[in-house]
Amino acid sequence: MTTTVQTTAAVSLRGVTRTYGRGSAAIRAVDDVDLDLPRGGWTAVMGPSGSGKSTLLHLAAGLERADAGRVVVAGTDITDAGDQQLTELRRTRIGFVFQSFNLIGSLTAEQNVALPLRLAGRAPRRSEVRSVLASVGLADRVRHRPRELSGGQQQRVAIARAMVTRPDVLFADEPTGALDSTSARTVLDLLRAMADAGQSIVMVTHDPGAAARADAVVFLRDGRIVDRLAGADTHAVAERLAAWER
């Protein structure tokens, strides 16, 4: 069941906890986190390996269920949402981009991008899908299949697929993690342009350069938020990350 909540945040977490394993083997991946991610802003989540970054992202996107606390996405409390509500949420309010692109290999770029709309029961116009692909610089790659595209191009198709439903929030899990520096820069430029146009973006990254392109950076350690930075450059982000990794 979902309920509508009055909030200015794109994503709001209150007392969210997620534990894996049981007994002595239990690991608290996210530990009592309170976090508001602003609407129309780009927030990067950083932290040492195993700090709970990806789990936090999955909880915020409704891909994992919290053991305790509440999660509100774009004004909708999804804490107790059932599978159908979460499916609806993924179709209409949330876009997700993975490090490994996760495109369907048998479909063309155009078909991959159109897929979420088709699943939502719409028959998208070709021009609509192509304009989204054009917006990520792939107007000339619409009929290519993933294996015929470079990593950067595949990630841009994945971003186009996530954006085609005009989601309230775009979640990105290490979107540049598998890309060379040139492709990574292209993808980050794209995300920056989207954020400047008012798109809410939450991105997990371990790359200070990528995090520095965001409006704000949240640092996580042992499942807890330990620091925040706003408007910092790459050097400042790297220094702060190094301090928390010590």
């Binding site: 599978d83 369907i104 048998s106 021009s127």
Partner: protein, 642 residues
């Protein structure tokens, strides 16, 4: 996805399934379609032949005796085709449902991606069931004409083996179209349903990462199915010794079917565990890789091994049980026949032979077909049987264990070794002669090998009925005298030679029945085995490419895949052997209970041949599929283009 196919020209069109999807997953779709096609063909052929035999008209111009013999032959053919039909249905259900479940399982990742971009559980289920409907219909559509070919082969086999008259051909029935399409559809959808339900239920992130619920190999459904069929196999094995000769045999023959389904259900637990114990012949890193793959691909291994297990259990268990009961029957006949010579002739020649010098006693058994009617009102039932007309006293002397006959008068019939008639009252009609309601007393204990169902005393049947009927006279020679010359009375054999010839006939009949019952079914199961190896390799192109970029040569990848496939096949064969072993235990207990001597005659030559065939088929298929899957340069599969 079915709805996606209807997109207009200016809309983004997907087609169904996507053309590229077919190219990439052709082996999954072809495998699933083939399993339906052959399953439907086999069931349709068996069903049409069964209906044809059951409705076969008795030819005109036959004498009453010939008419009854024809009826008896028809009943036997219908019974046999019933077993063939049962076997075909069992295999079709098993092979089609497991193939469809496997094809769904092989696409977990793609299905998870659909969920992540907004696909609902219902959409996934509809997609998979829609595919099952499409492939089931296509397979059944191809299976209908294929079934006509199978029917021609089965009818030819039956004619050649003498189970049906020369002119026997399966007859087409229009309604079979609906039955065959329905069979293909229902089995395909039923097979895909459980897998589709499971694939839709698993959380997308788990399916994508192959973690959490997605890694659980033993579902509640598998446990229930496995325990249910294991319980069934145990129950059959326990009850079989108490089921008499006919019931016990039927139960023992069904033990391997139940045990095989149970073994296949527990496959994800058992197959990798057993396979890891089998030396793969590849040491070092290749051996480690093979063992790791066996550990990691538990569901794949179990799916590949399942048809192997069923094939071995079915062929070895049923052929072994059949051969053992035949051997037991021969041994029992040997123990219950006290004579020196046998004269095969016609009519009641006992007195004439007894008069020959040197003959101590002679017992003539004259065989006649008869129609019996039991029960009354709605329970009234008429069937054609074989009766033996005998002299009770002489019969009892010749067949130890039949002493109960000595107390019967010439107005009472007695139960025969066939065992299908109980003591009571039975109406008996011989060809052209109604004997009326006869009291039937307990006479001869039922024999494993069957025989005449009813013994009639000589005085009950007029001599005219007996003159031309085939007879066997068992002769005891006076001790201390030379064997008398009885060749003037018929074909003379020593009892040992007669028993040997009888054993050969019975063995040959038993083998023919097994070829009919198992032959095409076993071929279908073997196709199922090859199918599962192909489907298992279809989704491994990326994995093979990863192994190659890690440093393995193409040959090493193919060798590792072959070692893995062979280990899985051997594990499947061993589980099949265990399932067949269940039948063997039932056979030992049943033969001991019925004849007093536990008998087992496992067909080891058949087992060796079957094992070699399975290993060759899976080995060659594995090499071809892994060779084909590694044709592309690995970097093209793994690396993105610049």
């Amino acid at each position: 996805m079915l709805r996606l196919a209807r997109a207009g020209a200016e809309r983004v069109s997907f087609g169904f399934p996507p053309r590229e999807g077919i190219a990439e997953r052709w082996s999954l779709f072809v495998g699933a379609t083939l399993s339906v096609c052959l399953g439907v063909a086999l069931v349709q052929s068996s069903l049409l032949l069964l209906i044809t035999a059951a409705t076969m008209d008795t030819p005109g111009g036959l004498s009453p005796t010939e008419r009854l013999r024809f009826d008896d032959g028809r009943t036997a053919a219908v019974s046999m085709l019933g077993v063939v039909m049962g076997g075909a249905a069992f295999l079709a259900i098993f092979i089609i449902s497991s193939t469809f479940a496997f094809t769904v399982d092989q696409r977990r990742r793609d299905l998870a991606l659909l969920r992540l971009v907004g696909g609902s559980r219902g959409q996934l289920r509809r997609l998979l069931l829609g595919e099952a409907v499409l492939l089931g219909t296509l397979g059944a559509g191809l299976g209908i004409p294929a079934g006509l070919g199978v029917m021609a082969v089965q009818a030819w086999l039956m004619r050649r083996m003498g189970f049906v008259p020369d002119g026997f051909h399966g007859q087409w029935r229009m309604w079979i179209l609906g039955a065959s399409i329905g069979t293909g559809l229902v089995l395909a959808v039923a097979g895909a349903m459980a897998a589709a339900h499971r694939a839709a239920r698993v959380r997308p992130l788990d399916a994508l990462r192959d973690s959490g619920e997605a890694t659980r190999v033993m579902t509640a459904g598998r446990w229930i199915l496995g325990l249910l069929f294991l319980g069934g196999a145990l129950a059959l094995a326990i009850v079989a010794p108490h089921g008499g000769p006919a019931g016990g045999q039927a139960m023992a023959m069904n033990v391997p079917l139940c045990a095989a389904v149970a073994a296949a259900a527990f496959g994800p637990l058992l197959i990798p565990a057993v396979a890891r114990l089998i030396p793969t012949g590849t040491g070092g890193p290749l051996g480690s890789l093979t063992r790791a793959n066996l550990r990691d691909g538990r569901r794949r291994s179990a799916s590949v091994a399942a048809p192997v297990t069923v094939l071995v259990a079915l062929v070895l268990g049923q052929a072994g049980a059949s051969a053992s009961f035949t051997t037991s029957g021969i041994e029992q006949l040997r123990r219950t026949t006290a004579a020196d010579l046998v004269v095969e002739s016609s009519g009641p020649i006992g007195e004439r032979i007894a008069a020959v010098p040197g003959v101590a006693s002679a017992s003539t058994e004259i065989e006649l077909p008869a129609q019996i009617t039991t029960g009354a009102g709605e329970d009234r039932e008429t069937s054609t049987i074989t009766v033996l007309v005998v002299d009770f006293a002489a019969y009892a002397r010749t067949h130890p264990g039949s002493e109960a006959l000595l107390g019967l008068d010439h107005r009472t019939a007695a139960t025969g070794p066939g065992g299908d008639i109980s003591a009571g009252t039975t109406r008996v009609e011989l060809p052209g002669l109604d004997l009326g309601d006869l009291p039937v007393a307990a006479g001869v204990p039922a024999a494993v090998s069957g025989g005449a169902d009813l013994l009639l005393p000589r005085g009950m049947v007029p001599p005219a009925q007996l003159t031309s009927a085939p007879s066997a006279t068992f002769v005891r020679v006076t001790p201390g005298t030379a064997l008398p010359d009885l060749t003037a009375h018929g074909k003379v054999s020593t009892v040992d030679r007669w028993l040997a010839a009888d054993a050969e006939t019975r063995g040959s009949t038993s083998n023919k029945i097994m070829v009919l019952v198992l032959g095409l079914g076993a071929l279908y199961a073997l196709v199922g085995v090859v199918n599962s190896v192909v489907i298992g390799a279809a989704a491994r192109r990326r994995e093979f490419a990863e192994a190659r970029v890690t440093g393995l040569s193409r040959g090493q990848v193919i060798r590792a895949a072959l070692a893995e496939s062979s280990a899985v096949s051997v594990a499947g064969i061993l589980l099949g052997l265990v399932a067949a072993g269940g039948a063997f235990i039932a056979v030992l207990n049943t033969t001991a209970a019925v004849t007093g001597t536990a008998t087992l005659d496992p067909p080891w030559t058949l087992f060796a041949g079957l094992t070699a065939t399975i290993l060759l088929a899976t080995g060659v298929t594995s090499v071809i599929t892994s060779w084909s899957a590694t044709r592309e340069r690995p970097v093209l599969l793994l690396g993105a283009r610049e």
